[in-house]
């Protein structure tokens, strides 16, 4: 039973990560491409981490909580790096489908 749950989580996680990467290839401009890696991947990695936590905690005499930390660090770093990339792109005035905001 546990194997089915783990398999489901891993496959779901992998598909969301794949969709996130597909976003990089399919979307039209730099700012839109930022959306793929910041979102679709959070759930993807989240599923993989839950699977990992279940697998390692189910062994006798072991309990794994590292995954909670990875989630925390991911939630902190993913948006920050996206923000910095977007900010740099705005400074360089990269080609954008959306109208660029007025710089004051």
């Amino acid at each position: 039973m546990q194997e089915y749950i783990l398999a489901f989580l891993i496959v779901t996680g992998a598909s969301f990560t794949l969709v996130g990467s597909l976003g990089l290839a399919r979307l039209r401009d730099f700012y839109m491409r930022l959306h793929g890696p910041t979102k679709a991947t959070t759930l993807g990695v989240g599923c993989l981490l839950i699977a990992s936590a279940i697998y390692f905690s189910s062994k006798p005499d072991s309990f794994s909580m590292h995954e909670v930390l990875i989630t925390l660090f991911l939630f902190i770093t993913a948006p920050v790096s996206a923000h910095l990339l977007a900010k740099a792109a705005l400074h360089l005035k990269l080609r954008s489908i959306a109208k660029l905001p007025e710089q004051s």
């Binding site: 969301f16 969709v19 959306a98």
Partner: protein
């Protein structure tokens, strides 16, 4: 005197918990080491954190985290659908969210949450900290989006981290 010895009372337990998670154990020795680190790190890095962080409504913070987690889950499905659909039909826009919150922690949390939730990435904080530029992946009603960000995320953050009334 007390404030100088323990500059960030909120940070200490958080760092201790992170240490226990890192070592993957709750032995007494690790707990003591964690408490020591939880005290020492804020003590020696006080210059990077001049402002004190106060949580006025801890229960509200918990509720708010659940709402955000749920929104992240939904965001993943929405963005996945947008990516797999026809990218030419998307209408991306930059929207400018006027900020009511002032404290560093609240603004950075808001920017983080915006990036993690449906179809929006925060991209620029205007220098005087009154406006946040946000890129939306697909929107036809910018005003409604701004209003929903303000009521759903900014208002609770203001209540939690800034003393109201």
């Amino acid at each position: 005197m007390f404030k100088r010895l323990l500059p960030h009372p909120v940070l200490t337990p958080i760092l201790t918990i992170i240490w226990l998670l890192l070592t993957n154990s709750i032995a007494t020795g690790q707990l003591l080491l964690g408490l020591m680190l939880g005290w020492a790190i804020p003590f020696f890095t006080i210059r990077f954190w001049p402002d004190e962080v106060t949580i006025y409504q801890p229960i509200k913070l918990l509720q708010f985290s659940l709402v955000v987690l749920f929104d992240i889950l939904v965001a993943n499905f929405i963005v996945a659908r947008l990516i797999l659909g026809n990218p030419d039909r998307l209408s991306p826009t930059f929207i400018i969210v006027p900020l009511d919150i002032k404290s560093d922690i609240a603004i950075s949390l808001l920017a983080n949450i915006i990036s993690l939730t449906p179809g929006t990435v925060s991209s620029l904080l205007i220098e005087d900290r009154t406006q946040l530029v946000v890129h939306a992946l697909d929107t036809d009603n910018a005003d409604a989006l701004i209003a929903s960000i303000k009521t759903r995320y900014e208002a609770p953050l203001k209540e939690i981290f800034e003393h109201v009334g």
